[in-house]
């Protein structure tokens, strides 16, 4: 593979050339969703980012094994008022079943990902389906002296681990601050008294009587800690050390820092060569949060049913809007920004379709090869989709000028530009033709559908 793809490695805080451990194979692990609620804006960004990365690496010739987990080990509890006896007397079907909730939101997540045109990962392991592997890894960490049991739960011993390892390196935390109790994870406020140090984190938790999801283990009937699933599942499917681990920047600490500690604590090896993190999104300049009333699900964006939205936005508008920013920049969602993205994308795709109507000339007045070269250069520079799109708009300008007769292109150049537009817009950036209409716009929709390229043997139309 002779290419100059560089990506920013969160571990070194630098752009590094991407050289896989075992080319042409690439192992990619991305932290997946917790499926106890609707997918929201925060899910769209990482999964679009790593979808584009996967598409591009495959285009470069790599064989990518893309693993993205489903976090389904939930924390639902039966109603404590009822007491254990009353719950035990209830028929199985009357009891709350976390897996029904898991299934509902996994399906909803898949629907949203499909709408956003994200190619499904090659393996999508569920945490609940890998309890055996998680218990095995906890045992290894304990055998190496980096974890201890306390009252049926098992905790990672950060102080002992830090004697010979650099805990905090990825996230830039200072170990002394952590040991002093700053920044300990919110998910474990209960059980603090079981820990030797506030910085320690749970590998296994003993289940309280009300806790529904539970499995037997050498320590207690309980459930795995939050971090261990990603370490155990990435090792199972990608090996002890793999190429790229991705996720949102909010996962740097404690989640990814703990993943490194768990892997090194069990097999002595650092798990990941390149850590990649996408930045956060804001909504009208504010952090998104349920308490702030600006929490927007993907479904609400697609239908427009949220008080902050002045219209609905199609999945491709969301995708294009996200790609119009570099993944390491913060991104602010606003109606104005989304409407501008919608117009821009329509302009881009209309031009891509218009290439079939261009008439060739004897000479060319524009350099179409530069469009492709510049777009490649942008993706090679830390997957800069924003800059790549700006170069595609130079292609749009040329196409529209040639169509208007103010510029000329040779037949070869028309073919080259057509290929560039299709390669980048559809194959690499993953856009697709879609038409959204409401009420009296339907007639217009029909005309648009008619204009879609009819190269397939047969087409099925659906509407929803």
């Amino acid at each position: 593979m002779n290419h100059p793809l560089h990506i920013t490695n969160s571990l070194s805080r630098q752009k590094e050339q991407f050289i896989p451990l075992n080319s042409p194979f690439v192992g990619l692990y991305v932290c997946g969703p917790t499926v106890y609620g609707e997918s929201h804006l925060g899910h769209a960004r990482p999964y679009i980012t790593f979808d584009v990365l996967t598409r591009y690496m495959q285009h470069l010739g790599y064989k990518v094994r893309y693993v993205r987990n489903i976090t389904d080990v939930g924390h639902l509890e039966n109603d404590a008022d009822e007491g254990e006896d009353k719950i035990a007397k209830k028929a199985r079907l009357e009891q709350l079943e976390p897996m029904e909730i898991v299934e509902l939101y996994t399906n909803s997540f898949h629907d949203s990902m499909r709408a956003l045109n994200n190619t499904p990962p090659g393996i999508e392991p569920r945490a609940s389906g890998h309890i055996i592997e998680q218990i095995a890894m906890v045992k290894e960490i304990m055998a190496n002296g980096y974890a201890y049991e306390s009252n049926g739960s098992v905790y990672f011993d950060v102080i002992n681990y830090s004697k010979s390892n650099d805990y905090g390196k990825l996230s830039g935390r200072i170990i002394e601050d952590l040991i002093a109790g700053a920044g300990s994870e919110r998910r474990e406020l209960e059980g603090q008294e079981e820990k030797r140090n506030p910085a320690d984190f749970a590998l296994w938790k003993k289940a309280s009587p009300e806790h529904i999801m539970r499995w037997p283990s050498p320590w207690s009937d309980g459930f795995p800690g939050w971090h261990i699933e990603c370490s155990a599942m990435s090792k199972k499917y990608l090996g002890e050390t793999f190429d790229i681990h991705g996720g949102g920047m909010d996962l740097l600490f404690p989640h990814h820092e703990s993943e490194i500690a768990q892997s090194k604590g069990s097999c002595g090896k650092a798990p990941v060569k390149y850590w990649m993190h996408n930045n956060m999104i804001t909504i009208n300049g504010q952090k998104m949060g349920k308490s702030l009333g600006n929490f927007i699900t993907l479904r609400e964006l697609f239908t427009g049913e949220h008080k902050l939205l002045t219209q609905s936005y199609s999945p491709m508008t969301i995708r294009f809007f996200i790609m119009q920013a570099h993944y390491r920049s913060t991104l602010d969602f606003s109606n104005e920004g989304l409407q501008a993205a919608e117009k821009g994308m329509n302009k881009l795709l209309a031009a891509a379709t218009l290439t079939s109507k261009l008439k060739p000339s004897a000479t060319s007045t524009s350099d179409v090869k530069a469009v492709r070269e510049n777009a490649y250069a942008a993706l090679n520079d830390d997957l800069n989709t924003a800059i790549a799109i700006s170069h595609l708009f130079e292609g749009v300008r040329i196409i529209n000028s040639v169509y208007a007769g103010t510029e000329q292109l040779t037949a070869d150049d028309i073919a080259h530009l057509t290929e560039t537009m299709n390669l980048f817009a559809y194959q690499l950036l993953g856009l697709k033709d879609e038409v959204v209409a409401s009420g009296d716009e339907l007639e217009g929709v029909m005309q648009l559908l008619l204009s879609l390229r009819a190269d397939a043997k047969s087409k099925r139309f659906c509407y929803f």
Copy 2:
């Protein structure tokens, strides 16, 4: 629930009134696909049948927990030529990963099910994700003396179990024949010498060195037998005894017979109140089989790309064709049959749409209430969709006659008939509007799309 729904119970070989164990809750378990190949015609029938059953039970007011498993504990092996050492030296990413194959075909199965408009089950557990539960059940069976270990594998002891239990009752097999070695399962030709009796079946198998999917157990590094997953997962999500277990008739023996033995052998209780089995399909009168060249996948049906197909058939055509036979009858697939189904369905849905254009009269010349009553009666009589559809065609006849002016209906009767057609065609039988077109038919498609009912706030059109 005051209704006269009767279903044929394979266990009693009789039609029985459906009375759930713990109304209004209903537990339904249906054997899901083995995801090591494309979904085919054999998958369409059971999942459409039990989708209609679920829709109808929900309509009757039941709270249905529908569990359908994914059999992903596969039997892939690494290339034996390479030897264990060479495989161990290979990087993890270079090795065959069964879960990639599982994911590919699970996604493909879901795509087909969505196309057929089957509502996803409430829980879709994977066998590989429930090894702990399977091992626990094997331990229980062993503790009760109904299973034994042999060379790292564990077998169910059919002879000992039969002393106090009726092995063979569901499938009508005679235990003496089974013990003599007739009809032992094909999947276990290897390992016969480890069994005390040919009728015994594996609960746990020790993995050979080449076998990829393996888990630790008290007996060996290995994998669960074929039958134990359904017993363990149905118990986990529906309880020790639940209402309905469904599947194809080919699963009666040994699969479902073994499920009963496993459940009774572990907890002493029969697992299922009503066993429901759909009959098989044939293709042009022949059994479907890869060696016969008449093996047709759902994808091939949808695209028409198979030498036996004279055209493509839309997912709704397949659905309608399957519902035009009672689920307990054999069903023969042929181009003629499918084309007739396509015409019939179009006629039915066109009439359902036409109801909005009917002009009311002062009196009615037809009894529209009988249409609904008869359609209900058909579903109540062992889910007879074939008869229900024939009564809907009486509704079609009335609608077309009223539209042509040869019959009259009052406004109330038009409303009643409209509701009947929508309830049965869309909600209970699960049909949906779809348009399939190729090449020059596209213009016609646009006109059809225009005529679709535009009651949603906004619609998204996609094409594929």
